[in-house]
Amino acid sequence: MKTKLIFIPLTTLAACALYASDVPPVGSAAPDFSVPDTNGKTESLSEYKGKYVVLEWFNPECPFVKKHYGSDNMQKLQAEYTDKGVIWLTIDSNAPGTEGNLSADQAKRVMNSWKTRQTALLLDPQSKVAKLYGAKNTPNMVVINPDGKIVYEGAIDSKATPNPADISSSTNYVKNALDESLAGKPVSNAQTKPYGCSVKYNKSS
């Protein structure tokens, strides 16, 4: 009996892990979430209903994230689309004690020195949002349409390298997805394999 009791927490954990691996497919409703941003304001996906929303998983220590920020590629994308009314949420889902987990102050410093242009940077140290979306990489990109449906998920672009020199010759999937959606067209490349570092989940999740 006692040995059996041990299995209860184990199976619960396993069920959580299974839940985490459930990626909501393209075309399905984007799961809602509420997490604080760097100013302590709670940001929920539901408050942006009626707008295009981009989710970007972030880790300033990750070479693949640095590839797109060091080259100004990500900032330009953020500026271009937030100017068009798109909501851009950068999410730090790395667990405390792991590389890339930022406090609100640290995050603000990174935003200042990198001159980032997103709508808000969300702090998700319990990786709640990452689990909801099955996000496993930084960067991992999701585009949500005004109806709250996922229209794109996957990599930021077509060349899976940490080398910024490859950006100019790659296809930017997020830009394509947003341009096509904003023009009222279906997204031609709606799902790709994301590339990058892993999201640093807590050991017990």
Partner: protein, 702 residues
């Protein structure tokens, strides 16, 4: 050299070309990269091997060709003099790593060597050659750092050479996967249900290893989930490979079948399942054999149609007709016969094209899904009843007068053209008898591709016309035909009772959907339909006066309309199912929440997706699931049994069925206690399938 100030984009190492290079991070050497050859000297025209040796600091790893959920494969770019060739990287079998958050990666710890074959040209001028390569890798522990090195290999040329670095090359060659064995040693089959690929591998080697795994090599933008062992027994293992991207047509995937004594053990071997084996393994298997079987049954079915009472008299009439028209001229008889057969084919091909058109127009209906709609079942009941009354002779289904006239007219026409139209019309006239059979064929064909639908109907036509073909070629065989006579009326009437038996089943389904009350109202309506049919047979015949026919038609239509509006539109619609007694014995009603909570509590759960109208389900339940041995096994292993009733098309159940890639019931799923993936059973259960699976699950979860 590498700093982690956030803005510094990790610069590639700019180095002098050397055969070795060390990547350091915070004063610690993370990766030492070396370029090696398996020979002391280059012999012109003779292939040799070069290897990139990466030695990683403890805890750090580099990645395989497919890195998994994160990471990047190591890349090697050669800069070779003209005329030199280099082969593909021979990737050693990697290790699988699980990180928090269900992140799975494939890579190498401590050390790895990536071997490539180098082929020098037949003639080399210099006595010393420099082969240079740029290597790029990503090395990760909890964080990831890209590394890069320009490496150079300097070798002299000679007419012969001795091997070098033999131990190292031998060690890594052993770790390179083997080709998938020949057909007599092992076999592989792919199938797909919903978003999961299933790979079944059979081979004697399988029984010898404790740990089996499938390492996928997805192509293009395919996003693959985590493969797992779905079931294994003796020489056979089935892997489940979930596909997370929308590649609806993906039916297989290259990868490695990895064997080891322990999980991630060093003593591991693997079989490479390449794209070509994938194609070879999938094609000749079930689909083509299945299709041939269906076509064979189509042919037999078509042949049996000739024995139906509406058709049988036609054969002898037609053949006698041929003989009469063509006199004793055998060739004339044959020509008429072929024209008649052509008519049959045109009718069936026309039907097939109609169906393909309907399907293309978006009417992608499966019978199974239709059965969840009580009005569909009711409509089917009416059709079956009407056919039965027709067979009893209560009334007769006749084609419109104009058509009959044309038929008679064409029958009197001479020659092949007449025979052709007779073929078309004889088949059309036989519809009351063929409809129940064609209905089945139509139901089948809705799930198939246009080509298969067409082939199926051609097979039926071929079967039906086979006797005409034989008899017009050999009129003497006419004597083997049974003589038409009163016995045929008896056969016809007996067929009517078979249809009534079908009706009993349909009413049972209606009862399950709308309760006893609903079934009674539906039966009342069916009674009115019978009366209407009788009126048509008794009063609406050419012999009665026009006024009488008119009055009868009006009364008949009024009856049908009135009873339809009252009995069906009002009473039947409002009827609700009786409180379904699902909790029969130890079965509990299914809800997704119930399933989740039982699983959370660590219970193994078996779900029976069923419906009242599903005969296969009923059979499985009676013969297998309620079998005392099976019940006892379920109890012994502490499996919670849930029954998901899809009789009325419950949408949450429809969703689950779709997740498993099923258009309908039956579906049997076992959710084992631990984190194992659910096990899906075949549609036709046997006692042993259930008992065997229960044994393996319990062993695995202890």
């Amino acid at each position: 050299m590498f700093s982690l100030r956030p803005l510094s984009v990790a610069a590639s190492a700019i180095l002098l070309a050397h055969s070795a290079f060390g990547q350091t991070y915070q004063g610690k050497e993370l990766v030492k990269a070396t370029l090696l050859a398996d020979t002391y000297a280059i012999v012109p025209g003779k292939p040799c091997n070069a290897g990139l040796l990466l030695r990683m600091a403890p805890g750090w790893h580099t990645y395989w060709k497919f890195s998994g959920d994160a990471g990047l494969p190591t890349e090697i770019k050669w800069n070779l003099p003209p005329g030199w060739k280099v082969g593909e990287i021979q990737w050693p079998i990697p290790l699988k790593t699980n990180d928090p958050g269900d992140i799975q990666t494939y890579g190498y710890q401590d050390e790895v060597m990536l071997i490539q074959e180098i082929t020098p040209p037949a003639k080399i001028d210099s006595s010393l050659v420099k082969l240079s390569a740029q290597a790029d890798w990503l090395v990760c522990e909890r964080i990831c750092i890209p590394g890069s090195a320009n490496l150079e290999l300097e070798l002299s040329t000679a007419t012969s050479s001795e091997p070098k670095n033999t131990d190292l090359f031998a060690r890594y060659r052993r770790l390179v996967p083997q080709d998938f064995p020949a057909a007599q040693t092992a076999s592989s089959t792919w199938s797909r249900t919903g978003n999961d690929l299933h790979l079944k591998v059979t081979g004697e080697q399988i029984a010898n290893y404790q740990t089996l795994d499938f390492f996928p090599l997805p192509q293009g933008n395919t996003v693959v989930g985590h493969p797992s062992v779905e079931s294994r027994q003796g020489n056979e293992v089935t892997f489940k490979i979930p596909i997370e991207s929308l590649d609806k047509n993906l039916s297989s995937m290259p990868g490695l079948i990895v064997f080891s004594k322990f999980p991630n053990g060093n003593e591991r071997t693997a079989w490479r399942l390449g794209a070509s084996q994938v194609a070879a393994a999938t094609q000749p298997s079930r689909t083509s054999r299945g299709l041939l079987g269906f076509l064979f049954f189509g042919f037999i079915g078509g042949f049996i149609l000739n024995l139906m009472p509406c058709v049988l008299p036609v054969i002898s009439l037609k053949i006698f007709g041929f003989i009469k028209h063509a006199g004793k001229d055998r060739r004339g008889v044959f020509r008429n016969g072929v024209a008649f057969i052509a008519g049959i084919f045109v009718w069936f091909v026309g039907l097939a094209l109609l169906l393909i058109g309907l399907k293309a127009a978006g009417h992608q209906i499966t019978w199974a899904a239709q059965f969840t709609n009580p009005y569909f079942v009711l409509a089917l009941s009416v059709i079956v009843l009407v056919f039965a009354l027709d067979l009893f002779g209560v009334f007769e289904i006749a084609l419109p007068q104009a058509l009959m006239h044309k038929m008679l007219h064409s029958a009197t026409r001479e020659g092949e053209v007449g025979s052709f139209f007779q073929g078309v019309f004889a088949t059309a006239l036989a519809t009351p008898c063929t409809a129940p059979f064609l209905g089945t064929a139509i139901g089948f064909s809705f799930t198939q591709s246009p080509l298969i639908i067409l082939l199926m109907f051609v097979a039926v036509a071929a079967g039906m016309s086979a006797p005409y073909f034989l008899l017009s070629a050999q009129p003497a065989w006419m004597r083997f035909l049974p003589q038409p006579g009163p016995w045929m009326v008896n056969v016809k009437q007996f067929m009517g009772f078979l249809l009534l038996a079908t009706l009993v089943f349909l009413i049972y389904v209606l009862g399950a959907q709308r309760g006893l009350e609903g079934a009674i109202w539906a039966s009342c309506f069916l009674l009115i339909v019978s009366v209407a049919c009788w009126m048509k047979g008794a009063f609406i015949v050419p012999a009665s006066s026009a006024a009488k026919r008119m009055t009868s038609t009006v009364i008949m239509l009024a009856l049908l309309l009135g009873s339809g509006v009252y009995l069906i539109g009002d009473k039947f619609r409002a009827a609700i199912p009786d409180l379904v007694q699902i909790q029969q014995g130890d079965w509990q009603p299914f809800t997704p929440e119930r399933l989740q909570s039982e699983r959370d509590q660590g219970h193994a759960v078996f779900v029976d997706f069923t419906a009242a109208w599903c005969l296969t389900c009923k059979f499985n339940e009676k013969a297998v699931l309620e079998n005392s041995e099976v019940r006892e096994a379920f109890q012994r292993h502490g499996v919670v049994k849930l029954k998901a009733d899809w009789t009325n098309g419950d949408p949450t159940i429809t969703n689950l069925l779709q997740q498993f890639g099923r258009p309908g019931v039956p579906l049997y799923v076992l959710y084992p206690g631990k984190s194992q993936e659910p096990v899906v059973f075949p549609e036709l259960l046997t006692k042993n399938i259930i008992l065997d699976k229960l044994e393996t699950i319990t062993v695995a979860s202890r």
